[in-house]
């Protein structure tokens, strides 16, 4: 079972190992000689390198200081594409806001009578559906506002007065009778009918 043998036992590194005399196994390939290097190569290399950094070190020093200074006064340089588009976007935003504010201001400046006069003059231009939908929207808005106001008022009352709600028996008797008298028999009949109340079920009748 050759595959199970330690393959690295048959591979030897050249170089320092070459100097060893106790090779147990014969080599197949021709004996390797470590590539020749110039005598004192490593000493010369070190000396040359140190001479090089000595000259560069002095030159590099101001560069390091420059770098630090540059850090403090760093200026962000944008490409033309970025600053042109940034300016364009800013202008659009400013004009947009201005237009929106002016529009609302102009509307609030017009009085109700002027608006009514305009509508009366140009009533032919509006269809019944348009007017109806506009009224609906206005009513919705108005209701919404009223609810908000009521809420605000209620909160205010709760905090300040803690008033009790008016009880039914607190309604003045005279006005209650007036209210009942204002209904005709027919009105009552129609109301009960709309509420699907069978008249025979009512004992009073």
């Amino acid at each position: 079972m050759e595959a199970k043998k330690n393959i690295l036992d048959y591979i030897r590194a050249k170089g320092k190992v070459d100097l060893r005399q106790d090779y147990a196994k014969p080599k197949i390939k021709k004996t390797y000689s470590k590539p020749e290097l110039k005598q004192n190569y490593f000493e010369d290399f070190t000396a040359d390198f140190l001479a090089k950094i000595k000259s560069e070190y002095v030159e590099n020093k101001p560069q390091i200081i420059d770098k630090q200074l540059h850090k403090k006064t760093k200026i962000l340089i944008l490409k033309p594409v970025f600053w042109i588009s940034s300016i364009a976007a800013s202008i659009i935003v400013i004009f947009g806001i201005n237009y929106f504010l002016n529009d609302n201001a102009k509307l609030s400046e017009i009085s109700e009578s002027e608006i009514l006069a305009y509508v009366e003059e140009n009533s032919d231009d509006f269809t019944a559906e348009e007017i109806q939908s506009h009224i609906d929207k206005s009513v919705e808005k108005k209701n919404f506002k009223e609810i908000d106001t009521t809420k605000a008022k209620t909160n205010y009352k709760k905090e300040s007065f803690n008033e009790k709600p008016m009880q039914e028996n607190q309604i003045p008797k005279a006005s209650f009778n007036e209210l009942l008298n204002s209904f005709t028999e027919e009105d009552l009949y129609l109301y009960l009918n709309s509420e699907e109340v069978d008249l025979e079920d009512l004992e009073i009748l």
Partner: protein
């Protein structure tokens, strides 16, 4: 030299503290590690001129960054990492234009393994280098110092600032992985 007895850790600390003696401290570090680093690079490039250029770049990087070196690993582990990256980058750049005369393979095949005889030392060298590249950094480092440089565990221990027990374990794992890689690459299981 006054600093020669100091270990790498102490030298690097001194270098970082005292700029006035930076050169003499650096020269000790260079003398201590230059030769092993040279052969480590040359085994990959298999060419003296390229090795010389890469080695210069490596030491220049070490010089420029030694002040920021955090001493979290041993100095040799750090410069080994730099040299490995520099060599790989260099060869990547030069790949298309490379027409250098390459050294003989840095390994030799011994008698006794029938299948291995079917391959040239060059082929095995390439596969072995590829196998080393798959190893984690520490294992690759220990393997190279032991297998190629034939250093004792005690010597490697000083160089890498690691216990001998940990080094033996690393070497054992590295050998196992390299064997598996070579068996797979050379289709030795089929023979």
């Amino acid at each position: 030299m006054e600093f020669e007895k100091n270990d790498d850790f102490a030298l690097v600390s001194l270098f970082q503290q005292d700029n006035s003696r930076a050169e003499s401290i650096f020269s000790i570090l260079m003398k201590r590690h230059n030769e092993i680093l040279y052969w480590h690079i040359r085994r990959i490039t298999r060419n003296h001129e390229e090795t010389n250029d890469i080695l210069q770049n490596v030491w220049m990087k070490v010089w420029r960054n030694l002040n920021d070196f955090k001493l979290e690993s041993s100095f040799y582990t750090w410069i080994y990492r730099i040299s490995r990256n520099e060599t790989i980058n260099f060869l990547e750049k030069e790949k298309k234009f490379r027409s250098v005369e390459m050294d003989e393979a840095y390994i030799e095949i011994l008698a006794g393994h029938e299948t291995l005889q079917n391959f040239s030392a060059d082929e095995i060298s390439e596969k072995l280098q590829a196998a080393i590249e798959t190893l984690p950094e520490k294992q690759a480092l220990v393997f190279q110092l032991k297998f190629f440089e034939d250093l004792k565990y005690s010597e490697i221990s000083v160089k890498l600032n690691t216990s001998e027990g940990a080094l033996k374990a690393s070497y054992h794992h590295a050998v196992k992985k390299i064997q598996d890689f070579l068996h797979l690459q050379l289709n030795l299981f089929q023979s």
